[in-house]
């Protein structure tokens, strides 16, 4: 079988999503970002909303998300993406607006912005990548770093007496009346990827219904920051991260019984 034969259309079992650009990704091999980008690109393409979607990228590893998905993008200051999204959605209510934020951006410097966007019930989608570490600046502690986890600023492990406790953002914001859909997913197996994709699709669909903010947390790996191989990182995530950040839906106002 020569190359030409392999590349026949009927033999294609997988192709790059139409909305992923040809730019070479800067993410480390094994990083979860690439998979999540792919899912967002597929959802936007499948929903046919490329021309009405505005993405807002954070500061952190995914600052360059705008290089990879073929839509209009705004690049926010550190932590402020929900503020940009708020104004964008309110001024352009017919657009689909999403932020893409890591745990340093959303759960540390940007807590005020995310909490208040949730509280106001902005009709936006938030994709929250939680890998428990600052990737871009070289592996420092994040608000979501687990107790005992070693980072460059907790070289002996996170000690709650010194560093406090991990923040469980998705559960916190589930108590805010402005949130419509909150789920926690991962992308470490094919099955998990499929579930994460339908969660992202649901979040975009909910944002069209004007029922409040939709929040998809993706518990992720940072094998470089964690100093592990991609395979070991996935294993470590399942054994440790999932205990603190269990996978599954946390809130769905269209499904849940009304609060008593």
């Amino acid at each position: 079988m020569d190359t030409a034969e392999i590349m026949r259309p009927e033999n294609i079992v997988y192709r790059k999503p139409a909305l992923i650009t040809d730019n070479v990704m800067h993410y480390c091999p094994g990083c979860s970002h690439g998979v999540v980008h792919k899912l967002i690109a597929e959802v936007i393409d499948e929903m046919g909303i490329q021309d009405s979607t505005i993405g807002i990228s954070p500061v952190g590893c995914s600052v360059f998300a705008y290089n990879y998905i073929d839509i209009d993008w705004q690049e926010a200051a550190h932590g402020r993406a929900p503020a940009l999204a708020t104004a964008t959605k309110r001024l352009c209510p017919d657009k689909h607006v999403f932020t893409y934020q890591g745990d340093g951006d959303l759960a540390s410097i940007g807590t005020a912005e995310i909490i208040h966007a949730c509280s106001r019930g902005e009709n936006i989608v938030v994709i929250f990548i939680n890998n428990g570490i600052y990737g871009m600046t070289g592996g420092q502690m994040a608000p979501t770093t687990l107790i005992g986890m070693k980072t460059s600023t907790t070289p002996y492990g996170r000690d709650p007496k010194i560093n406090g406790f991990p923040m469980v953002i998705a559960d916190m914001i589930s108590h805010l009346d402005g949130t419509a859909y909150i789920t926690r997913q991962s992308v470490h197996t094919a099955a998990a990827v499929r579930k994460a994709k339908s969660a992202i699709r649901k979040a975009f669909e909910y944002s069209e219904k004007n029922i409040g903010l939709s929040f998809v947390e993706i518990v992720s790996t940072c094998n470089s920051g964690w100093k592990m191989s991609p395979v070991d990182a996935n294993k470590w995530m399942v054994e440790n991260m999932f205990k603190k950040y269990p996978i599954g839906d946390i809130k769905d106002v269209l499904k849940d019984a009304p609060a008593l």
Binding site: Q50, D51, S52, T53, I54, I56, V63, Y66, D70, I71, D72, W73, Q74, E75, A76, A77, R80, A83, L84, A85, T86, A87, T88, R90, L91, C92, K95, A112, E113, I115, H116
Partner: protein, 360 residues
């Protein structure tokens, strides 16, 4: 006939925003400018023009909301007072770096720190020289009346969109709180989606198949690319400096002594000029209306004819540095100021003037 209404400078900002078809206002309460958002909330322009008005959770958030709105090519603005504007500096720098148009109103109060809530002009250096990290300028316009507050909103947006640059209306507690007669024009419509596509083809309006994606960012990481961008900004600033300098003069034709004052100080100075003229002293005044770009050339030209020049400001002496730069040592430059929210009287200014010039 134009409608004439008695209103505060702060109210004039709000009413002007509505009448000029501004798309969005995002702000946070702080004295002495809270009437801007209060007036907008009372007027409810979302029911008439469709203008969005939102009380944000902080000044940090307000400025980033207008960052988002400006990315969409919308006419968006915020207002605050000194401590709140300090918080906005990060966002202003990002907007300068992303070349976004916006209007920010600073109704200055006494500082540093929490300071006082009384009028001051002590943000001159922050706004004219800095307002955030990096190599950039705001276009800065300084109103001296409630009518200016009304008129400068439209002018501010015109400049902001012409140069894709943040514009700061640098006002103070007097101009914000004082009521005066304001002449208002007819309601102008907000720009349509088509007009935004025409005027702001760079905006994030949703990527159609017909164009590449629009990305609004201030990040480059590559020094050479960043340097090219910085030099592009320099060209823009040179154009602004060549075309947009604005000032007014009062009795300068035969003057031997010159005052330089902006904003509310210029009005008090005008009264001081009148008093000195009555005493037979030929004083005059120049009021910079744009603080960036600054009227360096005109002050230099006038300096050649003056026995001395005095800068009069509600601070410890900030604009006086620019006056000295303009004068280039050709005549003595003095300074008189009050601080902390205190306001000088015309008499205080004439006394300081006489002392500086050894006049009786």
């Amino acid at each position: 006939m134009a409608e004439k209404i008695l209103m505060k400078g702060n109210e004039a900002i709000a009413i002007s925003a509505i009448r000029n078809g501004v798309d969005g206002y995002f702000g946070y309460p702080i004295t002495p400018q809270s009437e801007v958002m209060e007036t907008l909330m009372k007027e409810r322009p979302w029911l008439t023009t469709g203008m969005v008005v939102l009380q944000a959770e902080s000044e940090t958030s307000s400025i980033n909301m207008i960052y988002g709105g400006a990315c969409c090519g919308k006419k968006v603005m915020t207002s605050s007072s000194s401590p709140g504007v300090s918080l906005m500096c990060e966002g202003i720098s990002y907007m300068a770096g992303a070349e976004l148009p916006c209007v920010v109103v600073d109704v200055m109060r006494g500082g540093p720190g929490l300071g006082t809530i009384q009028p001051s002009q002590s943000d001159y250096n922050m706004i004219v020289k800095g307002s955030g990290h990096g190599d950039f300028h705001n276009i800065v316009i300084a109103p001296a009346s409630a009518q200016d507050m009304y008129d400068f909103v439209d002018w501010g947006f015109e400049l902001a969109f012409r140069y894709r640059n943040p514009v700061v209306i640098l006002a103070d507690g007097i101009i914000g709180q004082m009521m005066e007669k304001v002449e208002m024009h007819e309601q102008k419509p907000r720009r349509t989606a088509e007009e935004i596509l025409r005027d702001a083809p760079w905006a994030t309006t949703g990527k159609p198949a017909s164009r590449p994606r629009n990305i609004i960012t201030s990040l480059s990481l590559d020094s050479d690319i960043q340097e090219v961008f910085n030099r592009k900004l320099a060209v823009k600033y040179a154009e602004i400096e060549a075309n947009e300098v604005k000032y007014t003069e009062y009795l300068t034709d035969d003057a031997e002594y010159l005052f330089v004052a902006f904003g509310c100080s210029s009005r008090i100075c005008e009264a001081a000029v009148d008093e000195l003229r009555e005493a037979g002293i030929r004083a005059g005044m120049l009021r910079p209306v744009t603080l960036y770009p600054y009227p360096f050339a005109r002050i230099e030209e006038l300096a050649g004819k003056m026995k001395s020049i005095m800068s009069v400001e509600l601070n410890l002496g900030q604009m006086v540095d620019d006056v000295r730069l303009a004068v280039k040592g050709t005549c003595p430059v003095g300074f008189y100021g009050r601080q902390g929210g205190n306001i000088f009287t015309p008499e205080e200014i004439t006394d300081a003037f006489k002392k500086f010039n050894n006049l009786k």
